[in-house]
Homo-oligomer: 602 residues x 2
């Protein structure tokens, strides 16, 4: 408590006093201890005399310093986690739950089948209340972990691991539960079953924000028809609405990027939408890798040297890093000099030597990190996903080779769907004739813009659609910096191009650098920016070829339909002049048409 001079301070200060944490012993020196009841201000000598305005002294301030629990931090900053508005909160919660389900299924080698339900639970005057239910057929979670997985921030299995997954922070689903609890006071309900012969465990969990720990408020066992799986229910204040950034759109886009997923969705109106999987092939299993030497900062290297269990420097380099064999280790140590040898004892290496070692690592040629830690969707499945959910005239997909930022492998994929059926939509049929393509449309309208609107950008990170913060995302930046005019689209200066087009961009990485914990936009690392641009340009060139062909086709089509219109008349004229029989006339017309088409082949 700080009883300092604060004349206008509101009545009681009891609350802050109560919350002050007991002082830790680690830093107790002989003087200057913060005292809860330190005498105010004047304690420290002459300095006050010179100023009229003395307000608070160093001692007063010390009394107010305290630790902040990470859960308190995120409760106050819930917009960092994507819970700033009731509309976004619903989406974020669904996203975190579905991400976890997909990760668990893939890791366990199970073809995911997920049910999402948004159930209105209006009570009293508050109509903005929903229960979100997400159930999967994943491997389940063992009971000892359930509490922490759903009721503790910064707890998880994916953070310390270098391999691609949707989750990475150990924050998301606990944060969703925390938001539900904050807005409705109700605990999170979890049901999980890890095997056929095991009971389903049902827990109700509350997160103790001051300590960032789960409190289990009820526990039951029961029989569940499912063999294994997890079900999470969170009641929350939220708002449901259709549109580009809705739960519906998120699920649709999830289906595009996860063709192995079967998804059932019950919206608040009780309507059911089913997305059936289009492939039974799971994404390839990803392998965990060690850090790549080129991505390790000096400070981290020093820390690794201090904590390694390796007993030689050469062993350390080979054991703790990827892509370092005995030859590379030898080269590094050689380049470092400073008396370092392959047998140097890692924990005894001082800062200066470590610094030399770090410089030597940067100078040594080391092969790029292995890419079996990331699993891109693949060109074929990107195309399949786009075709399944977006109706368009032209599709293309690119998977770039893997690249590296800060030692983390990543891979960019770009897909394009262009043209509204009924738009430019012309095509050559088998006989080489140009025909208008016919399609019934409207279904995918939302995903392909109109010809005079900005194109739709579908952003993905590790197969998860990103619906918010488009303006602040590296993907958007790369899209804007690409010159789409040279590919046949309109593009106002410094803006998203205009056209009946959807561009999908996917970044797969062992560690996606998001701009905030809510994982809505990609941070602007130069290496990522470069790969994004290359991917967009490659796909753009293909689009350009198609559009130019389309424009040529359009012109051809106009010319030909004009000529074709008159060919029968020419036939009749020829018949009269040359006195042809009817079959002769028709044969001549046919020949004329064939010659016409042949002479204009592409």
């Amino acid at each position: 408590m700080s009883p300092a001079k604060k004349p206008k301070a509101e009545k009681a200060q009891k609350k802050s006093a109560r919350a002050v944490e007991p002082e830790e012993e680690t830093l107790a020196f002989e003087e200057g201890e913060p005292e809860a009841d330190a005498p105010p201000a004047k304690a420290d000598g002459g300095r006050d005399d010179t100023r009229a305005k003395q307000r608070v002294s160093a001692e007063d301030m010390a009394g107010r310093q305290r630790e902040i629990s990470v859960a308190e931090f995120f409760t106050k900053n819930r917009h960092l986690l994507g819970f700033d508005s009731p509309l976004k909160a619903l989406l974020t919660a669904v996203k975190e739950a579905v991400d976890n389900s997909l990760d668990a299924c893939e890791e366990a080698g199970i073809l995911p089948e997920i049910t999402v339900e948004i159930r209105p639970t209006a009570s009293g005057e508050n109509q903005n209340r929903f229960r979100m239910i997400v159930e999967d057929n994943g491997p389940g979670i063992v009971e000892a972990q359930l509490g922490k997985v759903f009721g503790q921030l910064l707890y998880g299995s994916k953070f310390h691991k270098l391999s691609q997954s949707r989750g990475q922070q150990g924050i998301g689903i606990s944060a969703a539960g925390m938001y539900g609890q904050l807005t409705t006071g109700k605990p999170v309900r979890i049901v999980s079953k890890t095997g056929k012969k095991k009971p389903a465990i049902e827990l109700e969990i509350v997160l103790d924000t001051a300590r960032n720990r789960p409190d289990i408020v009820s526990r039951a066992e029961f029989a569940w028809e499912a063999e294994h799986g997890t079900r999470v229910e969170i009641e929350m204040e939220a708002k449901y609405q259709k549109g580009m950034r809705s739960v519906d759109m998120y699920l649709k886009q999830t289906a595009i990027a996860n063709p192995h997923l079967t998804l059932h969705y019950v919206d608040p109106g009780g309507e059911k939408v089913d997305y059936e999987r289009s492939t039974k092939q799971l994404p390839k299993a990803v392998v965990e890798i060690k850090p790549h030497p080129h991505g390790v900062e000096l400070g981290r290297l020093i820390q690794m040297l201090q904590t390694t269990s390796c007993r030689s420097l050469s062993g350390f380099l080979q054991e703790e890093f990827s892509r370092v064999g005995s030859k590379v280790a030898h080269d590094i140590i050689d380049a470092a000099g400073r008396g370092l040898s392959e047998k140097s004892y890692p924990t005894r290496i001082a800062r200066e030597e470590a610094s030399a070692l770090h410089e030597a690592i940067q100078k040594t040629k080391i092969s790029s990190p292995s890419t079996d830690c990331i699993a891109p969707i693949g060109e074929e499945l990107v195309l399949a996903g786009l075709k399944k959910e977006i109706e368009a005239d032209f599709y293309t997909a690119i998977t770039r080779p893997a690249a590296v930022y800060r030692g983390n492998p990543f891979q960019i994929e770009v897909g394009i769907a262009y043209g509204k059926p009924g738009g430019v939509g012309l095509e050559l049929n088998e006989e080489g004739r140009i025909t208008k393509r016919k399609k019934d449309s409207e279904a995918s309208e939302a995903l392909v813009a109109d010809a005079d609107e900005p194109i739709r950008l579908l952003r993905y990170a590790n197969r998860v659609p990103l619906l918010y913060q488009q303006a602040g995302c590296a993907i958007t930046k790369a899209l804007i910096q690409t010159n789409w005019r040279s590919y046949g689209l309109q593009q106002p200066k410094g803006s998203i191009p205009i056209g009946a087009c959807a561009v999908m961009v996917h970044i797969a990485s062992v560690w996606v650098p998001f701009t905030s914990e809510s994982k809505e936009a990609i941070a602007n690392y130069p290496e990522i920016q470069k790969e994004l641009r290359l991917g967009l340009m490659e796909a753009g060139r293909r689009l350009g070829t198609y559009i130019r062909k389309g424009q040529r086709l359009r012109k051809e089509f106009d010319k030909r339909s004009y000529i074709e219109k008159y060919i029968p008349h020419i036939g009749i004229a020829l018949q009269e002049i040359l006195d042809l029989s009817v079959p002769e006339r028709d044969g001549t017309v046919k020949t004329l048409e064939d010659v016409l088409h042949k002479s204009r082949k592409f």
Copy 2:
């Protein structure tokens, strides 16, 4: 450690095994305990037989779950804190240190005088290394707190307090030190002195990231000429560069918003820049307030009820919230019903009753939170700041009345500087004549755009300039949504307006909702958006009046200079016709000029 089936996993898993934290006892149920050496995969029954691809079981996964230290989290996500590039890292570190210095000085009632130095410390081949030194004349920090303040994330005095300050999270300066340590392996050096007769304490601190705790590596006492103050030195990998988002620009903008600050800056080239304070008046002292009832979510209300030391509901409402007296408390309890009375014992109130209480609070009319917890700059000082650092033809400033989002008071200020000296720059002199204003320019060029460029937007939060993430900021959004064409500027659709203009926007609040921990952009709360728009419109209208007047003046000026050119000739003509003497002619010319000017007064 997870010895599961991972055929291609890289050599050793030792590292992750070492880092597994001891299991907590809280959740030990009778089965399903995660075992470090659990038998892989096949453990759970029939399910595996049906699938070829079994990869990992629930038990395997459980073995990998663990806690993530907040310092580890931010090391991996250092872009969240503003340390994603060497260029930005330098700025972020300076910003965190200067923010802390200013906060401390103001809280202690000391007129701040701060020295910032960026010293190149290139070593070996690495040229991108600098030592940042920030020294203030603040109250100092008592020794017992020094370690934690500079070496522990989420530790501080400002988080739990509802009153305006630059810092709020208890992350910034420790994160800067952590970044320095990560990139150079060197500790942070701190010197602090809390009073004339006390010794200066010098500490070198390293942050233990796995535990998020400071390790003090050296300690010394010495005599320091300063009476009191703090000096922090951090060596880091960084890049120095001039420009819109440089340390130089940050300091210049800081001087604009903090006219009471004297700042000395030594750049890496050794050049000195001094910003002298233009006022000796400190910002008004801010008062800490209690949460406002309308901003408290149900979950938080329940938590407050459970932990209060008040023994009656009425007392609880009056003690724990601002703006609740006995009358309002009575009204709330009355409206809640459900058997609640003024004497109900807070800790015994169940969820359903708390929910009714929460609804009743929302329905009860309660005065807006007191605004003495925030200290806007004020129209006068905004103008003074703009005029001191930006040379322009027209200035205006608006301080909006305080408003509230999520129970947090905030206040918006908008300042505009328009016109490059030498541009439209026309003015009426005392005699009512229009003259061109003369000024020597170039100094403030960077802060006022050219007439054909997007205007410069200077964003501030609690007097701190925000230099990054402009695109993702609520201020930018509000600027774009304002119709500047009606105020005389050009504005491409959906873009920042064009013109020789700088717009400064300041949000002062007890809790600024930033979009990330690096505090670079404001989150888009609707209440804040609305106030921003109102402030921009009000300032915009004034600008519009000036610009229109300028345009009229320009026309007048052209006309008059034309007429004035001929008045002497008319004089000579009249002299000849009417046979006037020279004094008579000059008198007539003067009269004609006066009549002309009078007839066109504004």
